[in-house]
Symmetry: none
Subunit: 230 residues, 2 copies
């Protein structure tokens, strides 16, 4: 690899890892050498099709979808990652406490860094700050998964919000619902944080666009389907 | 608190926390003083009925059940904790990365230590090894939750029920599972009617006998096969 690329990787790693300053120069060097800049085309599987431990993925740009796959091919989306996010579950071998595996696909063209799991694991063993970062990242995803699980299992709130937005759209004859998230929460008997989180999810699914002025519906068909509980 | 109790608490904390040796004497002292020995009667709610952050629970003996609760009262069991386990999710305020909350009930009479969350949080801020332990414990539970999710989402119901009955049989060393159908439904995240129908089917296959007192397993071999998905 030429020197310019190496400097590039180093500055990207430094930006992604808050523990960078805690590493010795040889450790930084090992991390850089164990890192490969990788492009994934939209639709490509990044992790989970037989490859045991892909490595730590630092997403520079694009979108990754993390999901569970049943034996009969059913999928449940757990969460999505965007530029700047670090993916630890593609390197479950690094953390002993992770005993499950997930599937990860590129939802958009992705530019990323992939760090060799053995190299990253070595750094985690030597530097507790690195291990702490890895664990913290995993626990954040735990929160995302719990939220997804709540949606899938209890399947009520997304439907309720979709019905509300759809009804408002029809009632006002406008694509945009001019209400604050606080107001929407009040109308459907929920909390602002819950509405906010669900709108964020709707936005990630490109069903709505959220702005200061309110909520603009961008995919009426999908919203109607959600409202009917599909 | 008398001195004997204090020594008792100290040795229990030392046994539970691998980072104990990393703490200074004042830190150990603060932890001990922030810890209360607590007994929960069977059936009591330990966490989740309004109380925001109960604290870190070290279970000495007994059994805790950790579950999610939907707005309409459905429960999904996520995992169970036994003597020697440390419960971090009852102290979600300690870890910023945990943004969800769960319910925790005592399934048996429980003897435990409860550590004040502010005290534990302070220790985590001062000692990275403590924070590391807290995160690792949370990530282990993440693995449990993923497993539970897989069970609930993907597994056919007969298999789920068979696994539950088989596990209970082994755990209690008894052919009879002394539970109502309502309770079984609650444990495996289903409805009583569904459990009732499947038990009727199991009975028709002479795998179990259903009575008021519970479910007696009459064909262990067949139940084990079902649990393995055959």
């Amino acid at each position: 690899m030429d020197k310019e690329n190496m400097t590039d990787i180093e500055s990207l790693l430094q930006a992604a890892f808050p523990f960078w300053e805690r590493l010795s120069l040889p450790q930084r060097d090992a991390l850089c050498k164990g890192t490969v800049r990788t492009h994934y085309n939209k639709g490509k599987s990044v992790h989970g099709s037989g490859d045991k431990c892909t490595g730590v993925v630092i997403l520079i740009s694009g979108e990754l979808r993390v999901y569970m796959l049943s034996e009969d091919g059913r999928e449940i989306t757990l969460y999505r990652l965007y530029g700047g996010d670090v993916c630890m579950l593609s390197a479950s071998c690094v953390l002993d406490s992770i005993t499950f595996d997930v599937h990860i696909d590129a939802e958009e063209d992705c530019d990323s860094l992939v760090i060799n799991p053995a190299v990253f694991s070595g750094i985690c063993n030597e530097c507790i700050y690195a291990e702490n970062f890895a664990l913290k990242t995993a626990v954040e995803r735990f929160s995302d998964v719990m939220w997804a699980m709540q949606q899938v299992l209890f399947m009520s709130f997304d439907k309720r919000l979709a019905i509300f937005l759809y009804d408002e759209m029809i009632k006002n004859g406008s694509d945009t619902v001019h209400m604050t998230q606080e107001q929407i929460a009040k109308y459907i008997g929920s909390a602002r944080e819950v509405v906010s989180r669900m709108l964020k999810y709707f936005a990630s699914e490109r069903i709505v666009e959220v702005s200061r002025g309110g909520v603009r519906i961008t995919d009426k068909k999908r919203l109607a389907e959600l409202a009917r509980g599909k």
